[in-house]
Point group: C2
Chain length 169, copies 2
């Protein structure tokens, strides 16, 4: 999986996340509650709420594309409170991802990735992708999924995986 | 991330999972309950329990290594009920992963991957890895983590990510 394929996979999963949010909307409507309540739901008292899981997944995807291409990451402040605002956040993120081409990612393996939280230390681009970006992106999207699932939203595995390029010959 | 790096990443995350289980054991001891109760915990009534999440994560890792190398997958029946048995399952899995070399995975991209549940259809090895194996593996390990976290186990993000090959010069 090249860095560009990783960015495409992140994009696909973020698009799937919007579909989970559609199902959350249907569930809220059927039960007559406001879907935005789910933006503040969490699985443990000291854990991020749904909105923060979405913001974190978007940020991990955004920074992967930025760090590995050398393009500056656009600023997306964590201000979203509603599902509508979270959808906007996802689309700003996937818009940025779409603007990062395979060519922009040439040399990604050898880039020096030094996010502020590493406090001066750094990771080789390839190590950043494998050991941090991929697990951390899936951590946050799966936690978002788990929060909805725990709150009764009718989700199944294929909602998570999305479309598969199967062949018959 | 090559197929071999993916298998190494799956191994690392499965080793991390054993450390989450250590923390679950400490939590159970502190609260005077039997840790094996957590093997049957779940986040939603129609969702897999912790034991099944571990079995599914192991199977996804095992089948990735098998399908992409052409080696036969060893049979690991889903009989585990206790944490001790689940640890055994993880180690059988990582033992098989360790036996699949980079050379065994040459040509993985072009292999025809036809798991029974695709009912005659198939995926190109590379598509299987990107669109199915990676998301599905992380789905199950994150769900296992989420179940423990929801039940009060003292886990944090770095328990999930594990060691990072950071550099200082």
């Amino acid at each position: 999986m090249t860095p560009h394929e990783t960015i495409r996979l992140f994009t696909k999963i973020l698009e799937n996340l919007e579909k989970w949010m559609d199902k959350a909307g249907e569930h809220a409507k059927a039960r007559s509650f406001e879907v935005d309540l789910l933006a503040q739901a969490r699985l443990a008292p000291d854990q991020y709420v749904f909105a923060q899981q979405v913001q974190s997944a978007c940020d991990q995807a955004k920074y992967t594309a930025a760090y590995l291409s050398g393009k500056p990451a656009p600023s997306h402040p964590d201000t979203e409170k509603t599902f509508a605002e979270l959808r906007e956040r996802i689309r700003k993120c996937t818009g940025f991802l779409a603007a990062v081409s395979e060519k922009d990612l040439a040399g990604a393996d050898e880039r020096k990735v030094a996010p502020p939280w590493l406090q001066g230390r750094w990771l080789r681009g390839r190590d950043y992708l494998v050991d941090l970006a991929i697990p951390n992106f899936f951590f946050h999207v799966t936690m978002a999924y788990a929060i909805l699932r725990h709150n009764g939203v009718n989700l199944g595995k294929m909602d998570y995986i999305g479309s598969l390029p199967t062949r018959d010959a």
